[in-house]
Structure formats: C-alpha cells, structure tokens
C-alpha cells in the first residue's frame, strides 16, 4: 500500500490527516519534534485501520538534520504533507527576536529546507505528491499578523515555484490555504463559527485536492472569495483599515 508522510503530525490538523489517510488504507510515517507524543495516535490508527504506522523525530528548525531524516525513512512516501507551523502574537514577534526567528524558521526556512530534499527525490523518481499548509494570512499582510503572514507568504511563493518546476516531472504540488481552524492554538480565540473549519474539514479537503491534483485549495469555499475581495482593496484604503 502507498505511504503518506505527515510532517508536524502532533498538531490537530496533523492528527486529523493521519486518521483520514489511515482510514483510506495508507501506511503512515508520522513526524514530530517529540515522537513519543505520537504514541497514542499511532496505536489508534494501527488498531482501527490495520495499517503500518511509524513515528520519527523531526525538528523543522534543525536544518542540518533534514537530509538524515529523509534518508532514515523506512520507505519513500508517495505523498508528503507539510503541516507544521508556528504562530505567536504579532507584537511578541516584533519585539522579541527569538520569536521572530522561530516564526520565520518554522514557517519558511524549515519548510523550504525539508521540501527541497523531498522534491529532489520526487523529481528523480518522476513521481510523488506534496501538499504544504500555508495560510490565507500569507495572501496579504495585515497589521495584526504580518510577521507570521509574511513567512507564510514566502512559503506560498515557494510552493508556487516548486509546482512550476516539478510539473514537467509529473510531481503534484498543492498549496493549502486554511482560514480559521478550531485547533488548540486557537481555542482561546473567539472565532466566527460559520467561517471556521474543523481539523477534519482540512484533512478531507487536502485528501480530495490531492486525489484531484488541485494546485491551490482553500478550506471552505467562501475563503477564496473573501481573500479575493481583501486582495482587491486598494492599498490607499487598506492601510487605513484595522485588520
């Protein structure tokens, strides 16, 4: 059976993706900073869906470890999904340089580093699928969230370029643009219920998008139109809004 790699499997979205792919019969490689945190998830998907599931340590910020990580995998996964991310309050990221660096390293540098490695193998093999979870926050910088937003903007541009390069080699690259999602990261925020997705919605959308080889996928269709409008607002007006 085909294998799926989930990078950042301990997040709510990573967990939902693991269940989704396992329920479809895929074997799993689950990667997280502390693989012990994945033990219960590993037992759940292996018992419930009778698949093989391996957990591996992976740290997005330790760029020097990425090649060894990829080489150590028991098999080359047909699908690799990049889920990890890091978001702190904007103000903290502006004033505290370690938070700033972490935001950029996890969301951009670390993501690019591991995807560079994965994509070389896929390019050589002339097959493979990559999905990267970016964010609608990367589509236009807003005063309340522009450090995280600009790191995700970088990731969006990277994924677009990677897609362009790998297309001729038969490798699919999908950019995932969630809006609000109910996760432990957001459980203290008052999110508007009708705009907010569950982690399982994200997992379903990613699964379907890869099946259909979609390039860009929003989670919940209206986010596409919301972001279209937000991007169309002239800068002269946009700068006066409090967003």
């Amino acid at each position: 059976m085909a294998t799926t790699l989930i990078l950042g499997a301990n997040s709510d979205m990573g967990r939902a993706l693991a269940s989704k792919y396992a329920s479809k019969g895929y074997d799993l490689l689950l990667a997280a900073r502390n693989p012990n945190d994945l033990n219960s998830l590993q037992s759940d998907v292996s018992i419930r869906y009778n698949i093989n599931c391996t957990t591996i340590a992976f740290d997005a910020t330790k760029l020097e470890s990425h090649i060894d990580f990829w080489k150590s995998l028991p098999t080359v996964p047909e699908t690799s999904i990049l889920v990890f991310g890091f978001m702190e309050e904007n103000e903290k990221a502006v004033t505290d340089s370690s938070i700033l660096l972490n935001t950029i390293q996890v969301n951009y540098t670390g993501a690019v580093s591991i995807l560079n490695i994965i994509s070389r193998t896929y390019k050589e093999n002339k097959k493979g699928q990559i999905a990267g979870i970016a964010s609608v926050a990367g589509l236009r910088g807003r005063g309340s969230n522009y450090i995280y937003g600009s790191a995700k903007a970088g990731l969006i541009a990277y994924l677009s370029g990677l897609r362009n390069e790998l297309f001729k080699f038969g490798v699919q690259v999908t950019t995932v643009l969630p809006g609000f999602v109910y996760t432990k990261m957001t459980e203290n925020l008052d999110l508007p219920a009708i705009l907010t997705a569950q982690p399982m919605d994200v997992a379903n959308s990613i699964y379907n998008a890869l099946e259909k080889k979609q390039d860009i996928v929003y989670i919940k269709w209206f986010w596409k139109w919301i972001m279209l409008i937000i991007r169309l607002i002239p800068e002269g007006i946009f700068k006066k809004l409090s967003l």
């Binding site: 301990n10 709510d12 219960s40 037992s43 759940d44 018992i47 432990k184 459980e187 203290n188």
Partner: protein, 442 residues
C-alpha cells in the same frame, strides 16, 4: 476566552473557559494552572454536571490503545465516543456491554454517570464491565484503579460525576454478538398496572423498556408500549442479511436546525407513539428483527432534537423508586400529567440489584420524562422530590439541574462516605456547578 456552554437540556447556560488536550502531559500542565475545573465529554448530561468555571473537554483525547478481537477486551482514552467504538467493534462481532439511549457520549461520561441501559436488570451499570482505569487526580498524579486496586477511587469515580478527577484510560469488556441486529418484541399495555406487570413478567429479557403516554387520563392512564429485545442470532435474520450479518447500511442523519416551540416536539412524539399504538399491524404484540441503531438509539436519528424544546431549555426528571413503592410511581406520574408540565412520553425501566457506592440505580422502577423550563417548574419539581424522598427513591444526577442539596444527602445513602473519599483525591480542584449546588465538599 469565555464561551457560552450548556449541556443537552440547554439549561443552564454559562460562560466558561474551555480547554482541550490530546496528551496526558498537556492535561497535566493545563490542569496545574487551573482552579475550579471539571471534565466534559459530549455534554449529553442534561443539566450542570459538566459545567464549571474551567471546563476540560476530553474530545481530543480519544485514541484506541488496545483491542483483542478474540477476548473482546478494549483499552482506550476516555474521550472516545460510543459511536466511534461501535463503528469499529460491531463489524468484528462485539458490542458495548451497556449503552444509554444515545451513542453520542464518551466513555468518560459513561463511567462518571455510571450509565445504565435497557439491560440494567440483567447486566448492571457500565462500571461493572470496567476492569481498570486511570484517573488524574487533583495533584496531577495518575492513579490506576480497579475493584481491587485503589478500590475506593474506583468506586467513587463510577457515578462520581467527575469529582474524583479526570478519567484518562479505561479498559473494559465488550460483549460478543453474532449479528448487528436485535430480535425485538413490542407489546401494548392498556394502562400503568398492566405495563408494570408486563415489565416484571418479561424481566428475563436482556433488554426492556416501556414508553408511556402521559396525556391519556381515566381508564387508559399509563397506556404504553413495552419494547423487549435480544441480540439476534444469524439464523434469526432473513436470508438476504445472513451473508454479512455484522454490516449495516449507511444512513443519513436529519438535523433539527433551529429551536422549535416545544409543542411541536410534543406533536412529533405524539404522532410517533400514536402511529405505533394504533398501527393496524399491531394487534397486541409485534415480533420483528431490526438493526441495533433504531432499537438502542431511536432519537439519534434526529440530531439536536433537544432544540425542539425551545430556547429556554428543558430538564429531564428521572427518578427511581424501590420495587415496593409501586403506588408511588402511580402517584407521581398522575401528579405530573394532571399538572400539565409533562412532555407526552415518559420512559419506564426496571433496575436490578445495585451495590454501588454513589451510582443512581437501585432495585426498582425508574421513570424519566422531559419538562420544558417555564415559570413554576422548579417549585413543582421540589414537590415531586418530596414524594420521591417519601417513597425512598432518588434522582439521577446526570439529568439533574436543580435538585437541592438536602435531597441529595438524604437519598444517596453513601453521600458522606463519597465526600470523605473525595477529600483524599480532590481536596478542592474538581468543582462543577452541580457539586456547588449540591454542596458536595468536605
């Protein structure tokens, strides 16, 4: 961030800070920073038992940890729902040992309320089938308990409404089945006396429950339908189903999207009951084979049916009276139906012997009915409590939103002992709206 939350009865509604966890380490860390907390599963208790200033939702703590398909022993995290267990075990020939009338509850909730099913008179409460469990107590320490290890913690946690701590891991015994179907027998009863006699007469059936029409007065007071069931064997099924006896066809759920005025819901239940009662096919007795879902979970087919009672919400009044207090049952039911507070249907069950510390069941009859919240309801329920007390019965904490403290301590014989065990494991961390109201503390 505070959120409005309420349980199944939509009463009361409170502002609460809700947190979740998927790992024990996360729970421990968050718990150490919070005061006045209570665990919350699916919020299917009707009242205020899983409401507090700080609520810990267990729903992300929901992993299967072990399953032996030859013995039916299952081990899991307490936030897993009965629905997700059934989806996994039924196709392999196993079933829950005890299930309430909805599958949308968690295993943690099943233990904390020590839920009963239609089989209590034969197979007891949920906790009877639990081999061992882990509980995170107020100190953040995890203790393993069972009927033989830390047994005081085990018995105070079963039916203890979350007050001993947060149940994390549970190991329990499933029940072997041959098919996903139930061999059902339905019998009509003309009145209350007849239905009670039928309940006694058929008490050897594994599953039994009666629906009582509360509106009918006079001769036909208490006219009802008794529903009995046994897990069907392969040879009980029509030939077309015998090939895959453990598979059920997928069904769509209906959702009640808005709050309805309560008379509409009553109309709905009235028409279902009348449809059954007056159905031409239904002479006195029907025997058929149906899948387990409509038999155990008839209301689960309509999601959010609780909205049918309107925005003010409702309470479910469920009490139990000892066997010898039959006349009390008649008196209380008459009082409710003549007062016009009642929903149309009441559910009557028979309980077997129960030796538990703080769980609800006792040998006798239990009656449950829904009452929409409105003016004078609570004073009226206090009057009913008086009768329940007088007839030596008690009220189910899992449905309760309004009982007075005195009533609790007078009707649960081990209440003081329970409180003293709590002193050992939970000096002051786990506090719900209900435990405050009932003054369950040292």
């Amino acid at each position: 961030m505070k959120k409005s939350i309420s349980n199944w009865g939509n009463y009361p509604v409170i502002q609460s800070n809700e947190q979740s966890f998927s790992l024990v380490s996360e729970l421990e860390e968050k718990l150490s920073k919070s005061e006045e907390v209570i665990a919350r599963g699916m919020g299917r208790c009707y009242g205020d038992a899983s409401l507090a200033k700080n609520v810990f939702s267990t729903l992300k703590f929901n992993h299967l940890l072990g399953f032996d398909s030859s013995t039916g022993l299952i081990e899991l995290e307490a936030g897993i729902t009965l629905e997700s267990i059934l989806d996994f075990v039924v196709p392999q020939g196993w079933f829950l040992p005890v299930t309430p009338g909805t599958k949308y509850i968690t295993v943690g909730g099943a233990i904390a309320s020590d839920v009963h099913g239609k089989n209590h008179h034969v197979e007891g409460c949920f906790s009877k089938h639990v081999l061992e469990m882990d509980v995170m107590i107020a100190s953040g320490e995890i203790l393993t308990c069972s009927p033989t290890q830390n047994s005081d913690l085990f018995h105070a946690t079963a039916g203890g409404m979350g007050l001993t701590g947060i149940i994390t891991r549970v190991k329990f015994q499933l029940k072997k089945i041959e098919t996903a179907y139930i061999k059902q027998k339905m019998i009509k009863a003309k009145n209350l006396n007849e239905i009670i006699e039928l309940l006694d007469k058929y008490s050897s059936y594994t599953y039994s429950v009666a629906w009582i029409d509360c509106l009918k007065s006079g001769e036909g007071f208490g006219r009802s339908i008794l529903m009995l069931g046994e897990h069907a064997k392969v040879e009980d099924l029509p030939e077309s189903l015998q090939k895959s006896p453990l598979k059920l066809p997928k069904k769509k759920l209906l959702t009640l999207p808005f709050y309805l005025p309560s008379f509409l819901l009553n109309k709905l239940t009235v028409s279902i009951f009348n449809f059954l009662y007056y159905n031409k096919m239904f002479k006195r007795e029907i025997n058929n084979v149906i899948s387990y879902e409509p038999f155990f979970y008839p209301l689960d087919a309509i999601q959010h049916w609780n909205r049918g009672y309107g925005k003010k919400g409702f309470v479910q009044y469920q009490f139990v009276l000892p066997l010898e207090s039959r006349e009390g049952l008649v008196e209380i039911l008459k009082k409710i139906s003549s007062n016009g507070h009642a929903s149309f249907l009441a559910v009557l069950k028979i309980f077997g012997e129960d030796e538990s510390l703080i769980s609800f069941p006792m040998k006798g009859y239990t009656l449950a009915l829904d009452l929409p919240v409105r003016k004078n309801l609570f004073p009226f329920l206090d009057e009913l409590d008086e009768l329940v007390l007088q007839y030596k019965g008690r009220i189910y904490l899992s449905k309760d939103a309004r009982m007075q403290s005195k009533m609790f301590f007078e009707t649960y014989p081990n209440a003081q002992k329970f409180v003293s065990i709590l002193g050992k494991y939970n000096p002051s961390k786990f506090i719900s709206l209900q435990s405050k109201r009932l003054q369950i503390k040292l």
